[in-house]
């Protein structure tokens, strides 16, 4: 057992990765102090529901990662609404705005990312313009919708955040237009047939999706804005939501001379090039043994799994990061579950279940290797896909697409 009773573990960032890490560290036997800092003043909450259920039911309290009592019970100190401004590796301290420096023995950077606000003419002057990343964003959007009589919403960006937000806002009576710059939605993350499926789903539900719409300026007209595109089209909006991607919060690490490369670079133990500093979650560039490459992921799975690995490592156990990435998205009554990384695929197979019209799965291959599966209302495909990818199982492709063969672990051998 390590002597940790007099040691201090400081965590910067109290979202999914940071909070899970703190509780995992306690579980692994750390006896010293655990202090969590976050600039966000809210009791740490789940982020995925912000764009999904929160907009509809508006209850942030049902959305907490852990109840406040749990932190007390596990002797985890929350320092919320406080901004960490620098890391001093030589002294092993961090500086906090308007506070005295805090010493650490182990430091964990879980600073995640912030929403990217593109430099568009007039974007700073726009009223009711929001990102969708934090509880404050979600609350502000909900308030703006609730108090708007026209409820005309323009969402810039047709990625998951944009589409989930569109579906949720439609449910509470907004008129929603999504403007996507590329020639299809979800262009960066999925195959054309999935893009088509989601585009149709939204149009059927009354959300207008327009592709090849490059927003070049926004003009504030008092209580509303007009959003202009480079093809001379324009759209009036009482509320504008920007969902065009994120920027990793890596400044603290960068200024402390930690290795950065499209994220804070960490090894298989979630450890940076300073042995006393770990980084976890969205902000990390980490090695994935299954795909044999360094990747950066914006996902709950990655936050949770890296938090486990880092906690184990700090407590002297050799757990390595070795997970197949997984994600999910809920839009209307459709559940999309994804496993694996489809980058580099050269073949896509569709399996549409014979007995149901709402259930199908999309299988991404690179030659004979199954890389990823997207499952629509189809937990079986998701679970089996996970197993096949993990086991690098060879799939009989003609059996896979033959829906007269029921989906079973041995069906596609």
């Amino acid at each position: 057992m390590l002597e940790t009773a007099n040691q201090i573990c400081v965590v910067i960032g109290a979202s999914h990765a940071g909070v899970n890490f703190a509780f995992n560290l306690r579980k692994e036997g750390w006896q010293g102090a655990i202090i969590l800092y976050d600039v966000d003043p809210n009791t740490p909450y789940h982020r995925p529901p912000l764009s999904k259920s929160y907009i509809v039911n508006g209850d942030l309290n049902s959305n907490l990662l852990k109840p406040l009592e749990s932190y007390q019970k596990e002797n985890i100190t929350l320092e919320l609404g406080k901004k960490v401004t620098s890391i001093n590796r030589a002294l092993k301290t961090i500086s906090i705005e308007n506070e005295t420096d805090q010493k650490y023995d182990k430091l964990v950077i879980a600073t995640g990312a912030i929403a990217l606000i593109p430099q568009i003419n007039g974007i700073k002057e726009a009223t009711n313009l929001f990102a969708m990343r934090t509880a404050a964003d979600a609350i502000a959007i909900k308030n703006a919708i609730d108090t708007s009589s026209e409820k005309r919403v323009v969402i810039i960006g047709g990625g998951y955040i944009g589409l989930e937000t569109a579906a949720s806002l439609k449910k509470i009576g907004a008129k929603v237009i999504v403007l996507e710059r590329e020639s299809r939605v979800l262009e960066r993350v999925t195959a054309p047939l999935m893009s088509e499926y989601f585009m149709d789903l939204h149009q059927e539900n009354g959300v207008k999706i327009l592709i090849k719409k490059n927003v070049i300026s926004i003009k504030n007209e008092g209580s509303f804005n007009t959003v202009f595109c480079d093809d001379n089209t324009y759209f009036e909006a009482d509320i504008v939501i920007v969902g065009v991607g994120i920027r990793v919060n890596a400044e603290l690490a960068k200024n402390a001379d930690l290795e950065i490369e499209n994220g804070i670079k960490v090894n298989q133990f979630a450890q940076t090039n300073d042995k006393n500093i770990y980084a976890i979650g969205d902000c990390t560039l980490h090695y994935n043994p299954h795909y044999d490459k360094f990747i950066r992921l914006e996902s709950v799975q990655n936050a949770v799994d890296q938090s486990k690995v880092a906690a184990a490592s700090i407590c002297g156990k050799n757990l390595i990061y070795d997970t197949i990435p997984w994600f999910w998205s809920d839009q209307y009554d459709v559940k999309l579950q994804m496993v694996g990384l489809s980058n580099g695929y050269n073949e896509v197979l569709l399996r549409k279940e014979a007995t149901e019209n709402t259930s199908f799965s999309v299988w991404y291959f690179k030659n004979e290797e199954l890389l990823a599966v997207d499952a629509i209302n189809n937990g079986k495909a998701y679970v089996l896909g996970t197993r096949f990818i993990k086991g690098k199982q060879k799939i009989n492709k003609s059996k896979l697409v033959d829906v007269s063969i029921p989906m079973k672990p041995t069906s596609f051998l």
Partner: protein
């Protein structure tokens, strides 16, 4: 109010009282070992898998279709398997015993 008993894989017995929310949330909020609820309770991760005591299964009922899909090929699944995020706490669940599946 419902009293719900969890038996972990270490054979620790934990009885908790809940009034609302899901059984998974109750377990996570009280750090019941083996129930992680990674996805936050939307039937997407299967990290909150429990085996309902056979005599209590009538109280919980069986899984819905997607939940069933998620459970069907899990190695730890038996005929009394449920994802605890899909069990809403109500008086009807008072007294049930759940064995944590992992």
């Amino acid at each position: 109010m419902a009293k719900i008993t969890f038996i972990t894989s270490d054979n620790e017995t934990i009885t908790l009282e809940g009034t609302s929310g899901s059984v998974m949330e109750l377990a996570v909020n009280n750090n019941v070992k083996g129930i992680d609820g990674d996805c936050g309770g939307v039937c997407s991760c299967a990290t909150c898998h429990v085996h309902v005591a056979p005599e209590d299964f009538a109280k919980t009922g069986g899984p819905e279709e997607l939940e069933n899909d998620m459970l069907e090929f899990d190695d730890l699944t038996n005929e009394y398997s449920r994802l605890s995020c899909q069990l809403q706490i109500s008086e009807a669940l008072d007294g049930i015993v759940l064995k944590v599946a992992k």
